[in-house]
């Protein structure tokens, strides 16, 4: 069918492919990648069965780690054997709707993989981080060994399965199935602690907000099918490269390149928490932290970036780049917006959540500024350093009974057993802040530099976007190191969080302030040395024990074990090593290093225009200096406002307790701005007033209409026979003779009538 459609296009043969590699026809191959979904299914089944089989150990966790590592090896082998061009690994015929033999009269969605370097780039970090974070989860979820463990790893593996289908799909239909699959797993894992009402509400919120975006995606898929008569990438890209739709009409200035990208963009923004849709992601932090690291930071939320990168030919085919301008502007605004919230809130995990939204904004801005390489590179580096940050925050949460308030934790890195966590946090923070030499620095630079060199004739006001992003870079550095300085440096102080395990055993001092807690228990600030010596043994003794006696034992921080430390170290090393990728020379691309080569060989290849060149200074070399300066300034401000005295605070800080810092004196002077930012700009309240409340009102009215009108009619239909019955009921006396007399009387009456009639 598709080939027939292509034969109908006379212009197709004449049009030269835009890029030699991506223009090459797809060949069969890459069958090894079929192992990835197979291994995920195997691990998911085993995890699911371990519940009913009453396996009360960490075996399902380790099995999942092994399977996911196997999947990573399969991807790695495919990558090593991949030269260029596109291979299609055909699994099986899956979905076919056929209503005719002509072109565009059959909708096919086969289980087949589109293997090009963009797919492989994404798959490498999806499966790699999947295996690493599964290892981390083995220890992190140890309290829930048994049924919860089975549920967790089942959803975890199904997530990797769905994400693989999303990334490797060779058609938009399979991508959509994966897209919904990851949405489901995200829902299941956010709501993992289903006894916590907050977590359940957050799960629902994520699911519902995503559905709104998905409406756009579905409509985009339908529009694609209407315009091109197919959802398979291979024929789709062939037509787009030729600049025509299925009927042979040019697409550059038609609705096709405006409407479809906008609809797909809505789906991407929903999944990647951009502009109006971002509200679900901070709430999603209610899930277990490894889930936040894998799904809500490194992989699933980049699905939107992937979707636009995958469909980049279509976006780029538009003559005025309307959709890309919008993507860039939305990304930049989201980046700035969520950075301001991240600066002011106190929950370190949510700071990371807002930072994820902000960095995703960067990626979208990169896509919109005609720098798909920068966007992909930033996705890759962000995946590693944000996973590192989340895993480090998770280790703190794990150790301090779920404490996340940066005013109640201090000097964590100095405590015994938390050294690796502190170092990993530092690596992640340096990357996120864009300190020169880190991977985050180079990837951010690619986007910023492109912003200053993209001509305004192609994208609306690219320089303005770049300035917004630059400002965001400074804010990012500030809030990242605010969290770092407050929690990881300074005097050792801590107050445990309200984890259920602590509450159950009466070890949590609910309602007490930090000072009262210290007075009561006599340790923490000032007594930390005596205490930290205890941690190793006592914590291990107390942890996970049901017969914990609160009168004789107190709360002890629980330093991370080998699994958490190992995955943290690997993740941090990967985050550092990602910088080297920038300097890898490939024959395929002039810039962007290894990632540049990967993107240049894929369908997302785009020769970014460079206009800026002042006295031999390119925008890249200028940006190296400017963004480094901005990042370091942000860190210095954070150090001045939040860091402790001495070398730990770069000799800028003055903080000597956990709860207060110089910033507290400054905040009131900002007045409403600081207050509103801390209240997350009242966006949730705004949605509540303008969306949730009106909808609830409509639902309320509808429910009354249903109750009164619809139910009323049905009830009336039922009530009528009941009333009639009530009237007639006394005729049934239950007395045998009454019935007999009635019968006799009846017969007599009939006879009388017969007689009268006959006479």
């Amino acid at each position: 069918m598709l080939h027939q459609a292509l034969h109908l296009l006379p212009t197709l043969a004449a049009a030269p492919p835009a890029h030699a590699d991506s223009g090459a026809a797809a060949t069969p191959g890459g069958q090894l990648l079929m192992l990835v979904p197979a291994l995920c299914v195997l691990a998911a089944l085993f995890s699911a069965l371990s519940g009913p089989l009453k396996i009360r150990s960490k075996i399902p966790g380790y099995f999942s780690v092994a399977c996911l590592a196997g999947a990573f090896v399969a991807v790695l082998l495919t990558y090593l054997g991949h030269e260029s061009g596109v291979k299609i690994a055909h699994g099986f015929e899956w979905i076919t709707f056929k209503w005719g033999d002509g072109p565009g009269q059959a909708l096919t969605g086969n289980f087949a993989f589109y293997v090009d370097s963009l797919t492989l780039l994404w798959m490498l970090f999806v499966t790699g981080l999947g295996a690493l974070i599964a290892l981390y989860s083995v220890e992190y979820m140890a309290d829930d060994v048994g049924l919860g463990y089975a549920r967790y790893f089942f959803a975890f593996n199904i997530f990797v399965l769905s994400m693989s289908c999303l990334v490797m799909a060779d058609n938009l239909l399979l991508l959509f199935l994966g897209w919904e699959g990851v949405g489901l797993c995200s829902y299941l894992l956010i709501g993992y602690f289903y006894k916590k009402p907050v977590a359940v509400a957050a799960a629902k919120k994520a699911f519902i907000v995503n559905r709104i975006g998905d409406l756009g995606l579905v409509l985009g898929l339908l529009a694609t099918f209407v315009a091109f008569g197919t959802l398979g990438y291979d024929p789709l890209f062939a037509m787009i490269r030729a600049g025509v739709d299925a009927k042979g009409a040019p697409i550059a200035d038609s609705w096709v390149t405006d409407v479809i990208p906008l609809l797909l963009m809505a789906g991407a923004f929903g999944k990647s928490a951009q502009v109006f849709f971002y509200v679900w992601l901070p709430d999603a932090m209610e899930g277990p932290t490894p889930v936040s690291a894998l799904i809500h930071a490194a992989t699933m939320v980049t699905a939107g970036v992937f979707l636009i990168a995958r469909m980049y030919p279509l976006y780029a085919a538009d003559d005025d780049h309307m959709a890309l301008s919008l993507v860039a502007w939305c990304g930049a605004i989201t980046a700035l917006w969520s950075a301001t919230i991240g600066m002011s809130i106190f929950d370190i995990k949510r700071v990371m959540g807002y930072s994820t939204i902000s960095q995703l904004g960067y990626m979208f801005a990169g896509l919109g500024l005609l720098a798909p390489t920068g966007a992909a590179f930033h996705t890759l580096t962000h995946a590693f350093f944000k996973a590192t940050l989340f895993l480090a925050v998770g280790a703190v949460m794990h150790g301090f009974g779920g404490q996340l308030d940066l005013r109640r934790l201090s000097g964590v890195a100095r405590m015994r057993g938390f050294g690796i966590v502190g170092l990993a946090m530092l690596v992640g923070s340096l990357n996120l802040s864009g300190v020169p030499g880190t991977a985050g620095f180079f990837s951010k630079d690619m986007i910023l530099a492109q912003g200053f060199s993209t001509p305004a004739s192609m994208i609306e006001a690219p320089q303005a976007i770049a300035w917004v992003l630059l400002l965001t870079a400074g804010l990012t550095a500030y809030y990242t190191f605010r969290a770092f300085f407050r929690v990881f440096t300074g005097p050792v102080e801590y107050l445990p969080g309200d984890d259920e395990h602590l509450l159950e055993h009466g070890r949590h001092p609910k309602g007490t302030t930090l000072a009262e807690w210290h007075k009561q228990h006599g340790h923490g600030h000032g007594h930390d040395h005596a205490h930290t010596e205890l941690t190793g043994v006592a914590a291990r003794r107390a942890h996970g024990r049901k017969d914990f006696d609160p009168t004789t034992e107190e709360f002890d921080p629980h330093p991370p074990g080998w699994a958490i430390n190992a995955s943290l170290v690997i993740c941090a090393l990967l985050a550092i090593a990602a910088a080297a990728l920038y300097f890898v020379k490939t024959p395929h691309a002039e810039e962007g290093g290894w990632v540049g080569g990967m993107i240049e060989r894929s369908s997302a290849a785009f020769h970014s225009p460079h206009e800026f060149n002042l006295l031999g200074i390119t925008s890249h070399s200028a940006m190296y200096l400017v963004s480094a300066l901005v990042g370091l300034t942000g860190i210095a401000v954070a150090a001045f406002l939040h860091a402790p005295k001495g070398w730990q605070g770069l000799f800028l800080g003055s903080r000597d307790t956990a709860a207060t810092s110089r910033a507290d004196a400054l905040t009131p002077r900002l007045g409403r701005v600081a207050r509103w930012a801390r209240a997350k700009w009242y966006v949730d309240e705004l949605y509540d007033w303008f969306l949730v409340k009106p909808l609830r009102g409509i639902a309320y009215v509808s429910s009354w209409i249903d109750k009164l009108l619809v139910d009323g009619l049905v009830d009336a239909a039922g009530a009528l026979p009941a009333r009639v019955g009530r009237v007639l009921r006394p005729s049934q006396s239950g007395v045998l003779h009454g019935y007999a007399a009635g019968m006799a009387g009846g017969v007599a009456l009939v006879l009388l009538l017969v007689l009268i009639v006959l006479n």
Binding site: G734, V735, A740, A744
Partner: protein, 117 residues
């Protein structure tokens, strides 16, 4: 009855010329009335059952009489069926009466008013 001929047409004699159809019907009606009145007035389940038998047999007499009057076997055939059914029914009805008696230790029909609406 191979042909569609009645007994009279086949030359059968009338049995008791003095007793006419009206006599039989009178007896039948009288029996039925006695049965009906007995059924309506008595409370003892067994008596009431006997009264229904009485009404039954009254109908049987009427059927036989009409059969003879029309010189047609159908009436008598029908009555034989009625007798068979009545025998079976009597066995069941008496069994029921015994069961009912065991429940309430009485034969009065007034004890059973569960069907009151």
């Amino acid at each position: 009855m191979s042909d569609a001929l009645t007994l009279a047409q086949q030359g059968w004699p009338a049995a008791f010329p003095a007793v006419t159809l009206a006599h039989y019907l009178f007896v039948s009606a009288a029996m039925f009335t006695v049965g009906l009145i007995g059924f309506l007035t008595r409370r003892n389940l067994i008596i009431m059952f006997l009264c229904t038998e009485l009404m039954f047999q009254a109908a049987g007499i009427a059927l036989v009489a009409f059969g003879r009057y029309h010189l047609d076997f159908s009436g008598q055939t029908f009555v034989i069926f009625i007798l068979t059914v009545a025998a079976a029914e009597a066995a069941m009805a008496l069994a029921l009466v015994v069961l009912l008696f065991r429940k309430r230790e009485t034969l009065s029909a007034d004890e059973w008013t569960e069907m009151k609406g």
